[in-house]
């Protein structure tokens, strides 16, 4: 996978969480993920097509997403409820939007589908291209989350970095 795609998603994630939830996440070193098991308790995945194809997933630990959505809505949320599932989809949608806007400036025009949200311990994330994917780990004061991306050429031949 072209490393050109990492920074727009990294920056997009920080922009979205800083603006919507007043949280500045700390990015760790990206690494390759070869299995489907999600890194968090709740995830959203969104398919992306255009000059490249692939998918983007955000996967949050329970404590982290509860804090993020509580901040977004100005409410004290205690459990993974419907608002949280809805918000994880919308956050992923926004990260995809900000990243695609940045990529468009480099001539890469992409379109996104509607996100799908999955919850539960040990749930799996199935990328459009199957994998492997690049994980960008983030830390917040309330727990970790990851951005999980997998892109390849639009002729269906995934490039691995």
């Amino acid at each position: 996978m072209n490393v050109q795609f990492i920074n727009p998603f990294l920056e997009g994630t920080i922009t979205v969480l800083q603006t919507m939830a007043f949280i500045v996440p700390r990015a760790g070193k990206p690494y390759l993920k070869k299995e489907n098991r999600a890194k968090g308790d709740i995830s959203a995945i969104i398919g992306i097509t255009g000059s490249v194809v692939g998918s983007l997933a955000l996967s949050f630990s329970e404590t982290c997403i509860i804090k993020i959505v509580s901040n977004m809505l100005g409410e004290d949320i205690k459990t993974l409820n419907g608002d949280i599932k809805d918000a994880v989809g919308e956050i992923t949608n926004m990260v995809s939007g900000v990243a695609r806007q940045k990529l468009e400036q480099d001539g890469v025009v992409l379109k996104a589908a509607i996100p799908t949200v999955v919850t539960g311990k040990s749930h799996t994330i199935s990328h459009v291209l199957g994998g492997p994917s690049i994980i960008i780990p983030f830390e917040t004061d309330d727990g970790p989350f990851v951005v999980d991306i997998c892109f390849g050429e639009s002729n269906g031949q995934a490039h691995q970095s």
């Binding site: 979205v16 995809s96 939007g97």
Partner: protein
């Protein structure tokens, strides 16, 4: 239009409607109606007086762009200010929205200050 005027917020994500409602309250707008897609929005627009529409672009059933076109084609609603909310500012989308008669657009994520700026700009344009 003033701070007591009714604003319609259209978005298929309930949390995003709640976020926009909270931001509107922060800038002084308390009179807010909600709809979860373009079809529901048209029903709201036909049943009560709405002074301003804030609509998401990507929605099932009827998109924000289709809602905008329907509003501009309706003799009773065509002068309603329309702010489009979108997760992306891709050039093609902006051109389509402008051609369809959008007053302005705002890219998610955004702050209360940016929302206020957009609304104030549109209201000023209608007062001229």
């Amino acid at each position: 239009m003033d701070k007591s005027s009714k604003i319609l917020v259209v978005d298929d994500f309930a949390t995003m409607r709640k976020v926009i409602r909270n931001l509107l309250k922060q800038i002084g707008f308390e009179n807010i109606a909600e709809a979860e897609d373009g079809e529901m929005a048209l029903k709201e627009l036909k049943s009560q007086h709405i002074s301003f529409i804030i609509s998401d672009w990507n929605m099932p059933n009827m998109t924000g762009l289709d809602l905008l076109k329907a509003v501009r084609a309706d003799g009773d609603l065509c002068k309603t200010p329309f702010l489009m909310v979108t997760a992306e500012a891709l050039q093609d989308n902006v051109v389509q929205a402008v051609k369809a008669g959008v007053d302005n657009y705002i890219v998610k994520p955004f702050t209360a200050e940016v929302l206020n700026e957009k609304i104030t700009g549109i209201i000023a344009k209608y007062k001229k």
